[in-house]
């Protein structure tokens, strides 16, 4: 498959060319090698899962993508160009949004404000305009509020709009986090265990949201998840990591029958 070529998924969706590519990534922390020489790509419109045992280096990989860690060796290519070293906020402004394994919401703010922060990269009014709440600042505020409300509706969190996030239960927090990421209208969305700590019903909801985002906005999604049911059902292609190495890469079908993957991670064929 060439970089620019897409492919068609089992359920008939058209996937585009390579959006993001990790080339020979190695990441070391002092003596610990969290990732060693991993390469893979994420294609436009794809739902790409990253799985592997605990401590395999999955979250670290996401952190590299979003610029929080700088790889010891290796390159990140984005939209066909090598990404120079960047601050995380610059990466975010290039259209990369994410959620976190240990929820990283702004606990002191309301749900609405949290989701509004997702739109910060789209708002540019100056400080004076904001101070007098007039002109650009005010228009922007209203326009973006509308966008945010759409996301809020979409994720069905209308009724907690004005609740401070600190008081919410875990599952809802995860949803708010997703809302914040979605509000940014990213071209690629990184989800780190979005369904941890949810029951089946909630996972179903969450799956639904993920699929819809992917469907409606064509957002590319990279997903870390431990629930094999979810991974197998949702993802188009799966990377499997173990101890910082890549041990498998392919469609869910291929991965689930890969003996290395079974040994290292699944335990039993799923």
């Amino acid at each position: 498959m060439k970089d620019t070529e897409g492919y068609v998924t089992a359920d008939g969706r058209q996937i585009g060319g390579v959006l993001m590519e990790m080339r020979n990534i190695t990441l070391k922390f002092g003596g610990v090698t969290a990732i060693s020489d991993i390469s893979f790509d994420i294609r436009e419109g794809e739902i790409r899962a990253i799985i592997g045992p605990n401590g395999a280096g999955k979250s670290s990989m996401l952190n590299i993508i979003s610029g929080f860690y700088t790889p010891t060796i290796g390159e990140v290519w984005y939209k066909g160009a090598k990404r120079p070293p960047m601050k995380p906020y610059e990466v975010a402004r290039m259209g990369v949004a994410r959620t976190f394994q240990n929820i990283a919401l702004f606990e002191g703010m309301t749900v609405l404000d949290n989701v509004m922060t997702g739109r910060l990269t789209h708002m540019h009014a100056g400080i004076l305009s904001q101070a007098i709440w007039w002109g650009k600042a005010r228009d922007e505020e209203i326009a973006n509020r509308e966008k945010v409300e759409r996301v809020i509706d979409f994720l069905e969190i209308q009724n907690i709009r004005k609740t401070p996030v600190g008081r919410l239960p875990y599952g809802l927090k995860k949803r708010v986090e997703l809302a914040r990421a979605l509000a940014a209208e990213p071209s690629i969305l990184l989800l780190d265990e979005p369904m941890a700590g949810m029951n089946v019903e909630e996972k179903e909801d969450m799956s639904r949201f993920i699929l819809d985002v992917n469907d409606e906005f064509g957002t590319t999604i990279a997903l870390i998840e431990h629930d094999m049911g979810v991974v197998m059902d949702l993802s188009d292609r799966v990377v499997v990591m173990d101890y910082g190495k890549k041990i498998g890469d392919g469609t869910p079908e291929e991965v689930r029958n890969n003996q290395d993957v079974i040994d290292a991670y699944l335990g039993v064929p799923h």
């Binding site: 610990v32 401590g55 265990e193 029951n199 089946v200 909630e202 179903e204 049911g229 979810v230 949702l234």
Partner: protein
């Protein structure tokens, strides 16, 4: 010993408790449940149902969150324990593994485990032996024993937290979402560990879980919490067969498991009460 340890003797009784946070937010609206000696009791329910709150009410960790038990009583071995401080409760053998890991991030993994033995007075040797036991349960921890736990992965922290609780040689363990964030084979493994600790050491468990499937496979007894109320209780086997539980908690419909991709319409939750 096996089932011999499991008796009908009530170890922990929660009677109709009400919990309020911050003086205004009513979270538990009369929850009653019982944990039998030597049993594994599962506490199920959706996000925000109040599972964590219930566990914290029992272990008396609510105070530091500005929560309060305003009504009802909590008895451990027939004795009222509401007014004890958490440390006293640990001395009595009740320990909680908190949701979301809560490791001491600047301590190494091994130091974390050793703090679990803080209340113990049975000598270094015994503690060492238990440390080895935890390491055989979780070999990954042995590899990382000298790392500061703040720098270990999510799953490793979860193992540390559970291992730390086991280090106190508890009688009763309150486990809050032990499977969260763990790789599938580890989830099974942890529940196996729970089972074997339960069977071999006679430790009773009260576990709050989202992973209903696994939880009901390992538990003897189950409660389902919705919106701060117990809406269903019974033996694990009964609950597994209940059609509502099947649909909402196990993701099974009549035709068997459905693909997540196929759940086309959002399911509206059916509430037993509300």
């Amino acid at each position: 010993m096996l089932d011999a340890a499991r008796t009908d003797e009530a170890l922990l009784e929660v009677n109709n408790i009400e919990v309020i946070y911050n003086h205004v937010i009513l979270v538990l609206k009369g929850v009653s449940l019982g944990v039998r000696k030597g049993g594994i009791t599962a506490l199920l329910g959706g996000n925000g149902a109040g599972k964590t709150t219930t566990l914290k009410a029992i272990s008396n960790l609510l105070h530091s969150e500005r929560g309060e038990v305003t009504k009802g009583s909590i008895l451990y071995k027939g004795e009222r324990v509401q007014d004890l401080d958490p440390a006293a409760l640990v001395k009595r053998g009740v320990i909680q593994v908190m949701e979301g890991r809560h490791c001491f991030s600047h301590l190494t993994v091994e130091e974390n485990l050793l703090t679990g033995a803080y209340t113990r007075r049975d000598g270094k040797g015994a503690v060492e032996a238990d440390l080895e036991m935890v390491y055989t349960y979780f070999p990954r921890l042995k590899e990382r024993r000298k790392s500061q736990s703040g720098y270990t992965s999510g799953g490793e922290q979860q193992m540390t937290a559970i291992g730390r609780a086991l280090m106190s040689r508890p009688e009763t363990v309150l486990l809050d979402e032990p499977s969260m964030g763990l790789a599938p084979q580890l989830v099974e493994q942890i529940f196996e560990i729970v089972k074997s600790v339960n069977e071999n050491e006679g430790v009773s468990f009260l576990l709050a879980e989202q992973n209903t499937n696994v939880a009901l496979r390992y538990a003897h007894q189950g409660y389902i919490l919705e919106n701060g109320r117990v809406v269903m209780e019974g033996s694990a086997a009964d609950l597994r067969e209940n059609p509502d539980v099947k649909e909402f908690y196990l993701g099974m419909s009549d035709e068997g498991r459905k693909s997540f991709r196929d759940v086309r319409s959002y399911r509206r939750r059916k509430r037993w009460l509300a």
